[in-house]
C-alpha cells in the first residue's frame, strides 16, 4: 500500500515523467507558450451544483440522491493509480492535494454540474446500482489544474458525462479512471479549445459482461494551443463493448496528439471495440500525431480502429458548393461541423448548448 507521505512533493518539483505505460513523446512541455483565448461566459448556460478546487468540493446545491464525503479513504485508489506511472495521477495524489467523494445513490432528476476551477486533487464519484445520472463537468481553469477523476459505476446503471473546457489558457491535466460493471454504461463526451498544455487521460476498465463505454472528444485548436488525448481501454470480461470517436481541427501552429489503446484480455470473447481518430490539419505549421492501437489477447471479438489526418473532404465541399455556397463558406461549414458533430452528441441539453456556444 502506498503511503501518501511518500508523495509529499510539491507540484513544481515533480520531474519530467518517466512513465512506463504512458507515452508523452508528442507533448511539447518545454515550449508551452501563453495562449490567448476569447473570454467565454459559461454561467448563462449552467448553474453549478458544486465547485471543485484542489480536490475540495464547495457545494452550492447538489441534486437529490447525491451525497458527499470530504475525507474518503483513498489509499486503495491512489496505489492503483500511482502504479500506472501516470504523471497527472501522481500530481493529483500529492499529499497536499485534497480528495472528495461523491456518492450517487439513486437516479437524479437534474444533472450534477461540477465547476472545476483548478489546483491539484481528486474527485471520486461512486455510482450505485440501478442509477441513471447525468454529470456536466466544466473545466474553468484560470491558472493550472491537475485533477484526478475516478468514476465507478455499479451494475445496471447509466452515467453520462458532458465535459467542456471553458478556459484553459495555461495548463490542464486530467486523469480519469472509469470502471464499469456489468450491464452498466458510461458515455463521456468532451470539447476543448486546448490551451498552453491541455492533456486528458482516461483509463477505462469494462469489468463485467455487458459493460459499455462511449468516449467522444473534440478539440478545436488555433494559435499555438496544445491538446492531447491519452486513452487506455481494457476489456476485462466477455461481451463488453466500447466506442471511441476523437476528432481534432488543428490550425495555425497548434499541436495535438491521440494515443489510444484498446486492450482485450484473454477470455474477453464476443466483445466489440471501435476506435476512430480523425483530424483536420489546416496549416503546414500545425502538428498532429495519432497512435491508435489494439492489443487483442483473445479470439472471437470484433475490433477496429482507424486514423485520418487530412484536409476538408472534397466531396463535402463539392456538395455544399453545388448549392451556391462559395468555397470559403463551404470550408468554414465543413471545418466548423467537424468538431461540432461531437458537441451535437452531448447528452444533456445544457451541456450541448454550452459546447456549441464554446465552438461558436
Amino acid at each position: 500500500m502506498l503511503n501518501l507521505t511518500e508523495l509529499n512533493t510539491s507540484l513544481q518539483d515533480i520531474p519530467a515523467p518517466d512513465a512506463k505505460h504512458e507515452d508523452w513523446r508528442f507533448v511539447d512541455r518545454k515550449n508551452q507558450r501563453e495562449v490567448l483565448q476569447p473570454t467565454f461566459s459559461w454561467q448563462s448556460y449552467a448553474t453549478p451544483s458544486c465547485t471543485l478546487q484542489d480536490g475540495a468540493l464547495h457545494v452550492q446545491q447538489l441534486p437529490e440522491n447525491v451525497s458527499i464525503c470530504t475525507n474518503p479513504d483513498i489509499d486503495d485508489w491512489v496505489s492503483e493509480q500511482i502504479n500506472t506511472g501516470d504523471y497527472a495521477a501522481r500530481w493529483s495524489c500529492t499529499a497536499d492535494a485534497g480528495c472528495t467523494q461523491l456518492t450517487i445513490e439513486a437516479t437524479t432528476d437534474t444533472p450534477l454540474v461540477i465547476h472545476h476551477t483548478g489546483g491539484n486533487g481528486r474527485l471520486l464519484i461512486d455510482v450505485r446500482e440501478n442509477v441513471q445520472a447525468e454529470i456536466i463537468l466544466i473545466n474553468d481553469i484560470q491558472e493550472k489544474a491537475c485533477t484526478g477523476f475516478d468514476l465507478v459505476v455499479a451494475p445496471h446503471s447509466r452515467v453520462t458525462v458532458d465535459e467542456i473546457d471553458t478556459a484553459s489558457g495555461t495548463q490542464l491535466y486530467t486523469h480519469k479512471t472509469i470502471r464499469v460493471a456489468g450491464d452498466a454504461e458510461v458515455i463521456w463526451n468532451s470539447i476543448s479549445l486546448g490551451g498552453a498544455l491541455v492533456r486528458h487521460a482516461a483509463i477505462v476498465e469494462l469489468l463485467n459482461p455487458h459493460a459499455h463505454c462511449t468516449l467522444r472528444n473534440g478539440f478545436s485548436l488555433q494559435g499555438n494551443a496544445q491538446a492531447h488525448s491519452f486513452v487506455r481501454l481494457y476489456h476485462r470480461s466477455p461481451q463488453t463493448s466500447c466506442q471511441q470517436l476523437f476528432k481534432t481541427v488543428a490550425d495555425d501552429e497548434s499541436l495535438t496528439s491521440f494515443d489510444g489503446l484498446v486492450h482485450m484480455d484473454e477470455g474477453a470473447d464476443e466483445s466489440e471495440a471501435q476506435q476512430r481518430n480523425a483530424n483536420l490539419q489546416l496549416s503546414d505549421d500545425a502538428r498532429v500525431y495519432s497512435m491508435p492501437q489494439l492489443d487483442i489477447f483473445t479470439d472471437d471479438v470484433i475490433a477496429n480502429h482507424g486514423s485520418s489526418i487530412g484536409q476538408p473532404d472534397g466531396e463535402e465541399l463539392w456538395y455544399l458548393r453545388s448549392r451556391g455556397l462559395s468555397l470559403k463558406q463551404a470550408r468554414q461549414l465543413v471545418i466548423g461541423g467537424f468538431v461540432t458533430e461531437i458537441a451535437h452528441s452531448f447528452s444533456t441539453d445544457a451541456g450541448r448548448t454550452l459546447a456549441l456556444a464554446l465552438l461558436g
Binding site: W318, S322, R323, G324, L333, G337, E341
Partner: protein
C-alpha cells in the same frame, strides 16, 4: 433552356479516358426529360460536367444555359445561375445544421440577385412552408445535413432543397434509387408539384417505375458517352420491355 453542343469530356487526371463523346442534347424549358441508359454509359458524368465538377475536363463543345456559355462559371456560380443537381448519393456533412445550411444556400442565391440576405427568423416561415409542400417532418430542421438520414430521407431532403432554391433547371440523378414504394411516391409527388412551364426537369433513371409516376415529355438514351435515341414516353416503355441490346446493336453494330 439548357443546350449541350458536341461535348467531349474526360477525367481531369486522365485525359485519355474520354467519357462523353461528342454529346449533344437540348432540354427545353417547361419540359420533363428522362435520360436512361446502361450502367457506365456516362449519365452521372454528364450531370457532373454540367454542374462544373473539377474532376472532369471538357475538351470540346459548349454548354449553354439560356443561351449563355457557362464554361467559365464555377460550381457555385452555376448553382446561383439556377442549376440544381439532385444527387444519387447525397453527401453527409456531419456537424452542419440542416436548416442553417438551407438558409446559407438560399442567401447565396439572393446575394447573386443583389437581394438582401435573410436572418434565420425571417427564413424559417419560408422553410416551414416548403417542408409542408414536400411532406417532410420539421424534426429534420435540427438534424445534421444528411447525417444519419435513411436513403429515402436523403432523397426527400434533396427535393426540399430544390423547393427552397427554386432552380430553373433541376437534374435529378437516379433520385429513385434505393427508395421504397411510399418514399418513391412522395418524391414523385414533389417532382410533379415542382414542374411548371418556367422550369426544366431532367430525370436520370434506370427504371420505368419513376416514369409511371412522373410522366416525361421526352426520353433520351445515353450509351457510350453520347445520345443514341430520343423519343416520347413510349421509348421508356419499350426499353423496359426489351432492354438496351437491340438499340445498342443497331447503333454500334454487333460489337456494341
Amino acid at each position: 433552356m439548357l443546350e449541350i453542343k458536341n461535348i467531349c469530356a474526360s477525367l481531369a487526371e486522365n485525359e485519355q479516358t474520354q467519357i462523353l463523346k461528342d454529346l449533344s442534347i437540348t432540354f427545353e424549358t417547361g419540359k420533363v426529360h428522362a435520360i436512361m441508359g446502361p450502367n457506365g454509359s456516362g449519365k452521372s458524368t454528364l450531370t457532373k460536367v454540367v454542374a462544373g465538377h473539377e474532376d472532369y475536363d471538357v475538351t470540346s463543345g459548349q454548354i449553354l444555359l439560356d443561351g449563355v456559355d457557362i464554361e467559365e462559371r464555377n460550381i457555385e456560380e452555376r448553382a446561383t445561375d439556377g442549376l440544381f443537381i439532385g444527387f444519387q448519393y447525397p453527401v453527409e456533412v456531419p456537424g452542419v445544421n440542416n436548416a442553417e445550411f438551407l438558409r446559407l444556400a438560399y442567401n447565396a442565391k439572393r446575394a447573386a440577385q443583389d437581394q438582401e440576405e435573410l436572418s434565420m427568423d425571417d427564413f424559417m416561415p419560408l422553410l416551414r412552408e416548403k417542408m409542408a409542400e414536400v411532406k417532410m417532418d420539421e424534426v429534420f430542421l435540427d438534424r445534421e445535413l444528411n447525417s444519419g438520414f435513411s436513403g429515402g430521407q436523403k432523397k426527400r431532403n434533396e427535393i426540399l432543397q430544390m423547393f427552397v432554391l427554386e432552380p430553373a433547371l433541376a437534374i435529378l440523378d437516379e433520385t429513385d434509387s434505393g427508395l421504397d414504394i411510399d418514399a418513391l411516391r412522395i418524391v414523385a409527388e414533389g417532382i410533379n408539384t415542382y414542374r411548371s412551364p418556367e422550369r426544366t426537369i431532367v430525370l436520370i433513371t434506370h427504371y420505368q417505375r419513376l416514369l409511371d409516376l412522373v410522366q416525361p415529355d421526352a426520353v433520351h438514351v445515353l450509351a457510350k458517352g453520347r445520345i443514341i435515341a430520343s423519343g416520347g414516353p413510349e421509348l421508356a416503355l419499350k426499353l423496359e420491355e426489351s432492354g438496351y441490346d437491340d438499340l445498342l446493336a443497331e447503333t454500334f453494330g454487333t460489337e456494341g
